[in-house]
C-alpha cells in the first residue's frame, strides 16, 4: 500500500501561519537571548518541514537548532534572517 497521502490546503495554510509566529517568537527570543525558544523552533521545524514540502526550510532549521544549542548569537542572526525571508516567501499571496 503506497498511494500518495495528500495534504489539505488548509493544513498547509495553518502550517505557514505557525511558522510566521515562530519567526516572530525567534526574533524576540534572539533579542532577549532566550535560546530555548530558538532551540525548540529549530528542532520542531527540522522535523516537520519536509513533510509539508519545505525541505529548504528544514535545512535552515537544522542550523537554527545547531547554533541555538551552541548559543552562538553571531551565527544565529543570519540564519534567523534566512528563516524569516523563507517564511515571507512562502506566505506571500
Amino acid at each position: 500500500m503506497s498511494s500518495e497521502v495528500d495534504l489539505p490546503p488548509e493544513a498547509i495554510a495553518r502550517y505557514i501561519e505557525r511558522r510566521i509566529q515562530d519567526a516572530r517568537d525567534c526574533r524576540e527570543a534572539l533579542n532577549k537571548g532566550d535560546f530555548a525558544v530558538l532551540l525548540k523552533v529549530g528542532h520542531q521545524v527540522k522535523g516537520n518541514a519536509i513533510s509539508f514540502g519545505f525541505a529548504e526550510l528544514g535545512e535552515i532549521a537544522v542550523q537554527l537548532e545547531e547554533f541555538a544549542l551552541k548559543k552562538d548569537i553571531s551565527s544565529l542572526k543570519p540564519i534567523l534572517e534566512k528563516f524569516e525571508s523563507y517564511i515571507a516567501k512562502i506566505s506571500a499571496p
Binding site: 497521502v5 489539505p8 493544513a11 513533510s51 528544514g58
Partner: protein, 173 residues
C-alpha cells in the same frame, strides 16, 4: 553507552504483535504522543484515511498517561522530545501509572503495547528503557517526506515490518 545500555533482540518481543496484526481486521487503535500539532494532524489524518486506524493524539506526556490508563493501544507513536518530560521519561511515568492503577484495561496485563519512536533526533540519541508494558519496536525519522513516513508506519500497522530492530539499544533504568 557501554555499561549503561544493552542490546536486546527486538524480534523476540515483536513477533506476537506482528502475527496478530496480520490476522486482525478490526481498526487498529493508535496513540500519537506528539507536541507538534502540524505533525500530529497530518500523521493522524493519513493513518485514518490510508489504514482505517482509530487515532488519538496526546500533546503532552500527562495527557498521554491519562489516555493509556483508560485504553490499550495497538501502536504508540512516541515523539522523543516532549515538553516537560522526554519520551523516555514519559514512558517511565506511564509504566509506573500502569503498574499501580488497578483499573487499567486487561490487555495491559496480557500483552505489551508496541512503541515506535518518532523523532528528528538521531536514532542513537533515543535510548528507551525496557519496561513491562511497552515494547519498543522501531525508530522512524521525522526528517523525510510524509509519504515515506506513512508507509513506514503502515508497515507496523499491517504487520509487514521486517524484524530488523536488533540495532536499537535500550537504556538500563
Amino acid at each position: 553507552m557501554g555499561s549503561l545500555a544493552q542490546s536486546l533482540p527486538f524480534s523476540k518481543f515483536s513477533t506476537t504483535f506482528l502475527m496478530k496484526s496480520k490476522t486482525s481486521k478490526r481498526p487498529k487503535k493508535i496513540l500519537i504522543i506528539e507536541d507538534d500539532p502540524d505533525m500530529s494532524f497530518v500523521i493522524a489524518r493519513a493513518l485514518k484515511c490510508k489504514y482505517n486506524c482509530q487515532v488519538e493524539v496526546a500533546q503532552d506526556p500527562f495527557e498521554a498517561m491519562n489516555l493509556m490508563v483508560d485504553k490499550f493501544y495497538d501502536l504508540i507513536i512516541l515523539d522523543w522530545h516532549l515538553p516537560g518530560l522526554s519520551g523516555k521519561d514519559t514512558m517511565a511515568e506511564a509504566e509506573k501509572g500502569l503498574r499501580f492503577d488497578p483499573d487499567i484495561p486487561i490487555q495491559w496485563d496480557t500483552k505489551k503495547a508496541p512503541v515506535v519512536i518518532f523523532s528528528s533526533a538521531k536514532k542513537s540519541d533515543c535510548l528507551p528503557r525496557k519496561t513491562k508494558h511497552f515494547d519498543y519496536v522501531g525508530f522512524i525519522s521525522k526528517a523525510q517526506p510524509l509519504n515515506d513516513i506513512i508507509d513506514l508506519f503502515g508497515e507496523y500497522i499491517t504487520g509487514e515490518q521486517k524484524l530488523n530492530f536488533q540495532s536499537l539499544k535500550l537504556a538500563i533504568n
